[in-house]
């Protein structure tokens, strides 16, 4: 197989509150022989909030990020569900509205850039599944996760809105019965846990303005996984990760029950199965201790 190359859009958390996500992404890419060219020029995607204030600016900034991937002639790979949504949504809007694209390009021209629409955008989860291939992952597993019940937590912005995601992912995923993460767990040798909350919201985006709503949603998600005998949870979204990993105290209080599970990034799970060391995967950076390795 020809070596896979992507332009890596790290998003903001991988450089701050989830350093382990950056570490594990690089470790897994290295194991799989995937080359990642980091888009060091990229700015924040607006994280689903900037567009509430200024949609045009959000489009311009996201188009600028994509323009850099285009300069490399590469598909952009994201490692955050919300970055994925905002970037893919920008691409969809610009590719389907010539006037808007022209207006955005007028701005980008001020800094010598142009959005053409030539780069695809995908999340690392789908790059692994669709481009690298689950079968090949299976073959490369050196430490099967067979003693673990693993609860997938999909996160909203990779699976909804489904029309957009289906146009972006090569293999369409159902918003109601998503399978990508379950399939990946199985490929890594683990048991996938089915539970009602796996495709529900973690509440991250209203943590500041509606803390009680956010805490109940987090609590329900962890409780759902615990009630179905999960040993740990896994998610492709660093924002879900932050919510599920660091906010368990509020979540427990909100739902009147102690809830906590280790919550791994999708990359950390794959890395464990491929034989990366805990240090390479940054497992010591979790608040809910990862003490099973």
């Amino acid at each position: 197989m020809e070596k896979l190359r992507y332009a890596l859009f790290t998003g903001c958390t991988a450089k701050q509150s989830t350093p382990e996500q950056m570490m594990s992404t690089l470790a897994v890419a290295d194991k799989l022989g995937i080359e990642l060219v980091e888009l060091t020029e990229a700015s924040c995607c607006g994280a689903s909030h900037l567009q509430d204030y200024d949609e045009f600016l959000s489009l311009v900034l996201n188009a600028r990020n994509i323009a850099y991937a285009e300069k490399h002639g590469l598909t952009m790979v994201t490692i955050c569900n919300t970055c994925q949504l905002n970037t893919a949504m920008t691409k969809h809007k610009l590719d389907n509205d010539a006037d808007l694209k022209a207006k955005v390009n007028e701005k980008l021209a001020e800094v010598g850039l142009e959005y053409k629409g030539t780069s695809q955008i995908t999340h690392f989860l789908y790059a692994i599944i669709d481009d690298f291939g689950l079968d090949k992952i299976k073959e490369m597993v050196v430490t099967p996760l067979s003693q673990f019940n693993i609860a997938p937590f999909y996160g909203c912005h990779n699976i909804r809105p489904s029309e957009l995601q289906n146009e972006t992912h090569k293999s369409p995923e159902s918003a109601y019965r998503p399978t990508s993460l379950d399939d990946l767990i199985i490929a890594c040798g683990g048991q996938n846990v089915d539970y009602e909350e796996k495709n529900k919201c973690c509440g991250f985006h209203v943590e500041l303005q509606a803390p009680k709503t956010a805490a109940i949603l987090t609590g329900n998600a962890i409780a759902g996984a615990m009630d179905n005998d999960a040993d740990w949870m896994v998610t492709p979204c660093p924002l879900c990760h932050l919510k599920l990993d660091t906010q368990t105290h509020h979540a427990s209080e909100a739902i009147g029950r102690e809830v906590q599970l280790p919550v791994l990034h999708m990359q950390q799970m794959v890395g464990l199965a491929l034989g990366c060391t805990p240090a390479e995967l940054g497992l010591k950076h979790h608040v809910a201790k990862v003490d099973f390795v």
């Binding site: 958390t13 990229a42 509430d52 200024d54 010591k284």
Partner: protein, 324 residues
């Protein structure tokens, strides 16, 4: 291609509850041969007509316009008369669970007490507010372009599918919910409307647009493709454009992104929380401390910065259209 009708066996688990007689709900099981021509409402009819006459549900138009027949199939809000059984089987397999839109609001089987939905609908002034001449000489014309601004929000059939799929409604009794916001948008976007209060009503913390968790469930389930979350975003924008967004943790959170991006390209996560919360940031200290000990909060001098900051600064300056 020749049109062939296929049949397949489907097992149904059907929610039953009669508020006048039952203490707890229970489920009845049925197995049926289902044809590829049928919709979910046909199954509800067959349960009532062939198996149990006491089974209750709402339906009226059978054409996806009255909004009465919405229920949940395997947890997914669905308009029963519009949803094909084939699609449901394809999505969920041959075992389907039929439940009311909200189990806790069930009065009898699939029939729910929708009063919360209607109260919230009423709370957003769901009508055009304007001074109308009692004896007008001509109609009040709206141009096609102006009508387009409604963005099809007027196609809502009040089925409640989005409302009872919304996780924020589920956990927060005060939250108006996606259908009410879509209605609020519909009248806000109407050129004839002069309401002074509607936008301020949806601007409230707790019940208003700021408490939407951005999960896109409402967009996913709406049988009329209204995209309520899209309308919520437009209401957010309108609040800023009309200078009505009060300075609170939610509005500062949205605006804080610009400050961070203009300064560093990537977010200064701690700075954003400080800007949004102000002195109330102290309540986050226990969590912040835990994160700090795990190496999840960089020191100020370790904060990342995007390359080519001059480009980002230029674009923020020249492309910003909103004011706060």
């Amino acid at each position: 291609m020749e049109h062939t009708i296929t049949t397949q066996k489907v097992k149904f688990k059907v929610f039953r509850f009669n508020a006048e007689e039952d203490y707890l709900p229970y489920y009845d099981d049925y197995e049926m041969e289902v044809t590829s021509e049928e919709v979910v409402l046909d199954i509800l009819n067959r349960i009532k007509w062939d198996h149990d006459g006491s089974f209750s549900y709402r339906r009226s138009c059978r054409h996806g316009i009255c909004g009465a027949c919405a229920i949940k199939v395997n947890g997914r809000s669905t308009l029963a008369c519009k949803e094909s059984m084939n699609d449901m089987v394809e999505l969920f397999g041959n075992e389907l669970v039929l439940e009311p839109l909200s189990k806790k609001r069930s009065v009898k089987d699939m029939i729910i007490d929708k009063s919360d939905f209607w109260e919230k609908h009423a709370a957003v002034q769901p009508y055009v507010v304007t001074d109308v001449d009692e004896a007008p000489e001509m109609e009040n014309l709206v141009s096609p372009e102006d009508a387009e601004a409604l963005d099809e929000a007027d196609l809502c059939i009040q089925c409640g599918a989005c409302h009872y799929a919304c996780p924020a409604v589920e956990v927060n009794d005060d939250f108006f919910g996606p259908a009410a916001f879509a209605a609020a948008y519909r009248f806000e976007a109407d050129v004839r409307d002069e309401s002074e209060t509607r936008l301020m009503d949806v601007n409230q913390m707790g019940q208003g647009v700021w408490d939407c968790v951005k999960c896109f469930e409402c967009r996913e389930v709406c049988p009329k493709e209204i995209d309520p979350i899209g309308k919520i975003t437009k209401l957010h924008q309108k609040l800023f454009q009309e200078g009505k967004a009060e300075s609170n943790v939610a509005t500062r959170h949205a605006v804080g992104f610009i400050h961070s991006i203009a300064k560093r390209g990537v977010l200064d996560e701690g700075g954003l929380v400080l800007y949004s919360e102000g002195p109330a940031i102290v309540k986050h200290m226990p969590v912040a401390f835990k994160m700090f000990t795990k190496g999840k909060i960089p020191m100020p001098w370790q904060l990342p910065k995007s390359d080519n900051m001059d480009e980002i600064k230029t674009l923020v300056k020249s492309s910003t259209t909103a004011k706060f």
